[in-house]
Structure formats: structure tokens, C-alpha cells
């Protein structure tokens, strides 16, 4: 009797595995991963493009940086973790800029004050571009719910990682940039 039950169970298990294989085959789809084709502020998607004026008055467009490893850091000068991570971002940028690393520290100017931003940048001797999001459009486009929010973008323009909150450890910044720079374009 027990032997019969076991045989029935084996047939059932075998059937499940055959159906599983059939489902695996049926649901295989070379176009299944849609991530990298659509712009969205999420890992695995194309980084949404934006054009802003920097603190020193230069226009800057994200898509012009394609082929480089980009850190888009959205911040405000009143936010303590944003302030705390800026020196580490500056040091990392200085060390990797010659290898093709770019920082766009987008100031969420719509919720900040320009003179405070200028004072903070001067005080910390920040040398990377600081695009100003005066209308708050980029902050909304990137669905920033918490400051700072950082987006690590690969050479192909696809977001590899989103870090919400801060301050980011300098080791995290360095290791991520190192890893992304090793990727083949």
C-alpha cells in the first residue's frame, strides 16, 4: 500500500517538474528585461535626462556625459547628511576624475537658498559641477523623497544603484566608482 502511495507521489513530482520545465521554456523571452530601455529613477533603468545651469552659470546636460561613470547626488545645504558627505565626494572625484568619473551634485535649489549654497561650496572648496534645480523639476523627475539621494550611473547611462539617505561612507563611494569604471563601455 505504501509502495503504491510512493509511486503515485513520484508520478506527481515528475509531472510537476515536466510542467515546470514547459513553463520555463514557454515564458523565456529575449525581450523580457525592459529596464535599460525606459528612463526611470530606479536601478536598471536609463537615467532620466536633464539640462540645468550650474552654480557658475554653465549649462550642463546629463546625456552629454554618456560614456562616463556619473554620480548624480541630489542635495540641499540645510540637510546635515548632505553636508557631511560632500568632502568624501570631493576626495573621490579628485582621485577618479582622470579615469572618467563625473559628479553632478544637483542642488535642490527650489527648497534651498542660493547664498547659503554658494557659502557652503566655497567653505568646503567643492570643485565638481553643482547644477541648480531652481524649479524643483529634477528633484521631482528623480522622485526624491529624502535628501540626499544619490544615483550611480554606468557608462551606458543606466542607473546601477540608488542610495537614499546619507551620509554615504567614503569606502562605499570609492568602491562603487572603482567597480563602475572597470565595466567595459
Amino acid at each position: 500500500m505504501k509502495f503504491m502511495q510512493q509511486s503515485r507521489a513520484r508520478i506527481f513530482y515528475g509531472l510537476i517538474l515536466i510542467l515546470g520545465l514547459a513553463w520555463l521554456w514557454y515564458s523565456s523571452n529575449p525581450g523580457a528585461a525592459t529596464g535599460g530601455k525606459i528612463p526611470a529613477p530606479q536601478a536598471g533603468f536609463l537615467a532620466p535626462n536633464f539640462t540645468l545651469q550650474t552654480l557658475d552659470g554653465q549649462p550642463i546636460e546629463l546625456s552629454d556625459r554618456r560614456g562616463k561613470v556619473v554620480l548624480v547626488n541630489i542635495w540641499a545645504s540645510w540637510c546635515p547628511p548632505c553636508r557631511a558627505e560632500m568632502p568624501a565626494i570631493e576626495r573621490t572625484w579628485q582621485d577618479f576624475r582622470d579615469q572618467g568619473f563625473i559628479v553632478l551634485a544637483v542642488n535642490s535649489t527650489a527648497q534651498d537658498q542660493l547664498p547659503t549654497v554658494q557659502a557652503f561650496v566655497a567653505q568646503n572648496s567643492l570643485t565638481f559641477p553643482i547644477p541648480l534645480d531652481e524649479s524643483g523639476e529634477v528633484t521631482r523627475l528623480y522622485r526624491v523623497a529624502s535628501l540626499p539621494t544619490s544615483f550611480f550611473i554606468g557608462r551606458d547611462g543606466v542607473i546601477r544603484e540608488v542610495v537614499i539617505g546619507g551620509p554615504m561612507a567614503e569606502a562605499l563611494l570609492r568602491s562603487r566608482v572603482e567597480q563602475l569604471l572597470k565595466e567595459t563601455p
Partner: protein, 250 residues
């Protein structure tokens, strides 16, 4: 999607909170049924705690060895609370090893211990699904079905909610066997493994972020099928005449 909960100046990472909640609830449930399986709740707590601590330390060390230069430049990063500085594979391997060593030292029976840990895994599966709901990760493929949700630029299968429903269903199926002790030791764990792998095999087809191999086959489905086959082979072995009696725990 709610990736962070802003409480004054504090930004609490909702996905992490969901995982911790799942672990805590799972452990509480496991503790209640551990004694029925002849195990002490304390041993179960210690086993999980050691696995977690060694796993976290191992994950950090594994990461440090991969990016030694970054930590030489910034040694304080070694003690950073940032979860991004972890290597999951090293953490999993070392956490598992530490649990095996602890189990061996305390003479914990292998299969009954895995059975007792099954509620932790089942509730954690729901925690992972809730973490995905909060973060928007593990998103679905594009769809025109009426229950599709607008996410990341298009209408998608609500894959995170499918995952949540599967987790709740599996917990619902297993809640009675969790309290029963008449089955051969190992049955509960293997049944969970089979159900979890089966659900992944089915639901992965609706995901929009699958890693693809061999011209379109989803890698996660292949791995889930292999785990399902192993779990069913284990269940078959346990049901062999004579095998069950020798594993009886109740």
C-alpha cells in the same frame, strides 16, 4: 512605493524595516512551535542570532577583500552601518557555516532544526515581498491587463504583490503542518523549499527585471527549477518505507 519613512530628521529605510519585522515575527512563531519538535526556543534564537552576526561580519569582510584600496583610503568604512558595503555571498556562506558549527556543538538534530526554522523562512519570504513593495524593486513586466500598475515609466504586472500573495499562501498552507509533528523530520522544510521554488518558477515569468541566459531563459527560473527538483527528491526519499520512521520526531 515608500522607500523611506521620514520621521523628522530621520529617514528610515522601509525595506530594511520590513525585513527586520519579518525576521522578528518569524522567530517569534518559530519559538512557539520549536518545543513541539523537541528543540529549545533559546537554541533557535541563538542559532539565528549567531548566523546573522557572523553573516553580517562575513559580508563586510568579503566586501573589504574585494575593494581593499577603498578601505585603505578610508579605513573607517570598515565600521560603517551602510548596508551597501556588504558582499551577500560571503555573508551567506559564513553565516551558514557558523550555524552548522553552532548546531554541531549543541548537538542540534539537523532535520528537526531545519523544520523548526521553517516559520522564520516563511515569514521572512513575506517580509522580502513587503520590502519589494516598499522599494519598487523586483518589478513586473509590461502588461495591458486591467490590474496592471503604473510603475517606472509604464504599466506593469504588480509582481511585488504577486510575490506577497505567494508568501501569504505558502504560510497559510504550512501553518497547520508547522504545528503537527507526526510527519517525518525534514518534511516541513522540504515542503517549504518546494513551494517557495515552485512559486518563484511560476512568478518569475511576470518579472521585468529578470537576468537572461541562453537567448532568453530566465536564470532565476532555472535555479528555482533545480531547487524544486532537489526538494521533491528529498520529499520522495523521506516517504520511502522505513525512512520516515527513522526521522520521526513527534
Amino acid at each position: 512605493m515608500l522607500p523611506t519613512l521620514q520621521l523628522g530628521p530621520l529617514a528610515i529605510q522601509t525595506p530594511g524595516l520590513m525585513l527586520l519585522l519579518g525576521l522578528w515575527l518569524g522567530l517569534s512563531l518559530a519559538e512557539k512551535i520549536a518545543s513541539k519538535r523537541g528543540l529549545s526556543g533559546d537554541h533557535l534564537y541563538n542559532l539565528t542570532f549567531i548566523g546573522l552576526i557572523v553573516g553580517l561580519a562575513g559580508a563586510r569582510l568579503g566586501y573589504v577583500f574585494q575593494f581593499l584600496d577603498a578601505f585603505v583610503q578610508s579605513p573607517l568604512g570598515l565600521f560603517s552601518l551602510n548596508p551597501g558595503l556588504l558582499d551577500p555571498f560571503s555573508g551567506f556562506a559564513l553565516g551558514l557555516l557558523s550555524m552548522l558549527v553552532y548546531g554541531k556543538r549543541k548537538n542540534l538534530p539537523f532535520w528537526p532544526t531545519l523544520d523548526a526554522l521553517t516559520p522564520v523562512l516563511a515569514v521572512l519570504m513575506i517580509g522580502v515581498a513587503l520590502a519589494h513593495v516598499a522599494s519598487g524593486e523586483a518589478f513586473g513586466a509590461e502588461t495591458s491587463l486591467p490590474w496592471g500598475i503604473d510603475l517606472w515609466g509604464t504599466t506593469r504586472h504588480p509582481a511585488q504583490f504577486y510575490e506577497l500573495a505567494a508568501g501569504l499562501l505558502i504560510l497559510g498552507i504550512l501553518i497547520r503542518p508547522m504545528n503537527a509533528t507526526a510527519t517525518p523530520a525534514g518534511t516541513l522544510f522540504l515542503a517549504f523549499l518546494a513551494l517557495a521554488a515552485g512559486s518563484r518558477l511560476f512568478l518569475e515569468a511576470f518579472r521585468g527585471d529578470s537576468a537572461l541566459i541562453l537567448g532568453g531563459i530566465r536564470a532565476a527560473q532555472l535555479a528555482a527549477w533545480a531547487i524544486l527538483a532537489a526538494a521533491l527528491a528529498g520529499l520522495d526519499r523521506l516517504s520511502k518505507p522505513g525512512e520516515g520512521a527513522s526521522h520521526q520526531t513527534g
